[in-house]
Amino acid sequence: MQQSSVASSPWRKRFKLAGTHIVLLVGAVVMFLPFFWMVATSLKTYQETLAFPPKWIPSVPQWRNYVEAVKTQEHFVRYFYNSFFVTIATMVTEVIMTIFASYAFARIKFLGRGLLFALFLSTMMIPGEVLLVPNFITIVRLHWYNTYWALIIPFTVSVFAVFLLRQHFLQIPFELQEAAYLDGAGHTRFLFQVMIPLSRPPIATIALLKFISSWNAFLWPLLVTDSAKLRTVPIGLMSLMQDEGLKYHYWMAAATMALVPVLVVFLAAQKQFLESVAKSGLKG
């Protein structure tokens, strides 16, 4: 694809190609190294973690580090349960709300549509940090402190997701809607029987984006909960590190376990995910 006007010798071309691969490979190794080091450490004995020069591969993989990591924290299993519950509840609620909101903005002509959509988009300009204090006060006033509500409800709307799905809904031919209308199908039936089946990929992307951001959420869950019964994985990890002594082999085992769900979900749907990221940049 890359061609120079000056006929370059095949050797020069090959040399250039090799150089490209070397640079990209070195970069990829650097990106990957922290993960490798995390997993390697998680399988070492305590003595091996303190070896110098460091051991790249543990001589006998210590799988029981994972069991020990779970045991060191009384509520470790609970954190995972909470994270899964909060993540899935947020994701499902968001997807349902986004479908209805996007449909209204894309397909129904109604009073104040343009203004309302502009209002929606304008909230993207506000840095979330400005909202922390007043939202915290709201949560306390609603008696939602230390409840799942506080972890779920504020994250059930993503303006970016509404924007993404609305964009997709707009591309579905309007003739379909007229035909459906003449057949006696109103908006609701059209939405469920035509729009949603035709929009599976963008809906999956929205769900995926929410899964990842919800699983990774840290500051807000830290602020609105203080009971171990409600805390999520990232906060559990953080408190793990405050234990006495160096237990990096356990800590790395815990970090690995925390990353597995998000990595599995991402790798399963990476193509769609990368596409949506690429699209978000082209809007600029």
Partner: protein, 318 residues
């Protein structure tokens, strides 16, 4: 009449409608609001109302334990401006922004250009660079803390190989002079792949014919890049820079995790968001913290406006 028409247009009312279409319009409007109700409630309660609420709070001495505050005008803002700790936060945040954004943009552009060729393993490379972006900040901060460990860390071990170049092991996490450096490295590592994917998308929308024509006319690769690729890519670069700067202003989690809930050793790694966090949740001065948050808001806004102004002649939307 004119006013009525303008208002009607602003509110998306039908023009020259018959009674039947009006009836349908009102039926549709009620349905649309029914569809939007949940989203509007959440956005209103957790995004719009708090913007106003934060500003009103910033004019009071609201305390989290008293759950009340008196109106004190701009006193919070005045006090923040005189707090050296706040200015340390501003300085460190600026260092972080300047340390992360240009390096990320340059490295990502380089990688994207290399990946924008018909080479093998393209998808695999792209994936490898992207993975850190989706990972949990807390988990990877723990991993990096281990890499930075002064005694058994991988980084000091690797520096040992370059002993002959004068590199010495450092107390990465204990010496305040390295604090911003440690989190800048994590930020670049975590954000690079995201930027690569966006640059790559920008590169792929370009017309290759244009570059090939220039090459046929005798332009060398450097000229092709600076005269064609770079100007055509400017909207993408602009988008990336704007969003990267806004995000960099929010630096908090990596610092919080790696330094055990403190803003770096000897509090030397204070950032603006950390300052807001400490004021609101350690000192419980929520009015004061809201004022600091509003200052952050205006700083981000000012920097964004400056970037738009700076870019007005340098970004080319065909």
């Amino acid at each position: 009449m004119k006013l009525g028409a303008t208002l009607g247009k602003w509110l998306d009312m039908p023009v020259g409608a018959t009674r039947w279409t009006w009836r349908k319009f009102w039926a549709d409007t009620s349905l649309a609001y029914l569809f939007l109700l949940p989203s509007l409630a959440v956005i209103g309660l957790f995004s719009l109302y708090p913007v106003v609420q934060a500003f009103l709070l910033s004019l009071t001495d609201y305390h989290a334990l008293r759950r009340a505050g008196e109106f004190i005008g701009l006193a919070n803002y005045r006090e923040i401006m005189q707090d050296p700790m706040f200015w340390k936060g501003v300085k460190n945040t600026a260092i972080y922004v300047i340390g992360t954004v240009p390096v990320t943009v340059i490295l990502a552009l380089g990688v994207a250009i290399l990946l924008n060729q018909a080479i093998r393993f393209r998808a695999a490379y792209r994936l490898a660079y992207f993975v850190p972006y989706v990972t949990t900040a807390v988990a990877v901060s723990m991993v990096w803390a281990w890499i930075y460990h002064e005694q058994w860390g991988l980084l000091n071990y690797a520096l040992g190989w370059f002993d002959w170049l004068g590199f010495k092991p450092q107390q990465w996490l204990l010496d305040p002079k390295w604090t911003m450096f440690t989190i800048i490295v994590i930020a670049i590592w975590k954000g690079l792949g995201y930027t690569v994917v966006i640059f790559l998308a920008g590169l792929q929308t370009m017309d290759r014919e244009l570059m090939n024509a220039a090459r046929v006319d005798g332009a060398n690769e450097r000229q092709v890049f600076w005269k064609i690729t770079w100007p055509l890519l400017s909207p993408t670069t602009f988008f990336i820079t704007i969003t990267a700067v806004i995000n960099a202003f929010k630096v908090f989690t990596e610092l919080f995790v790696m330094y055990g809930r403190r803003p770096g050793p000897l509090r030397e790694g204070m950032t603006i968001v950390f300052y807001i966090y400490e004021k609101a949740w350690d000192d419980r001065l929520m009015g004061y913290a809201s004022a600091a948050a509003y200052i952050l808001f205006f700083m981000v806004l000012a920097v964004t406006i400056f970037q738009f102004w700076y870019a007005r002649r340098r970004v080319h939307y065909d």
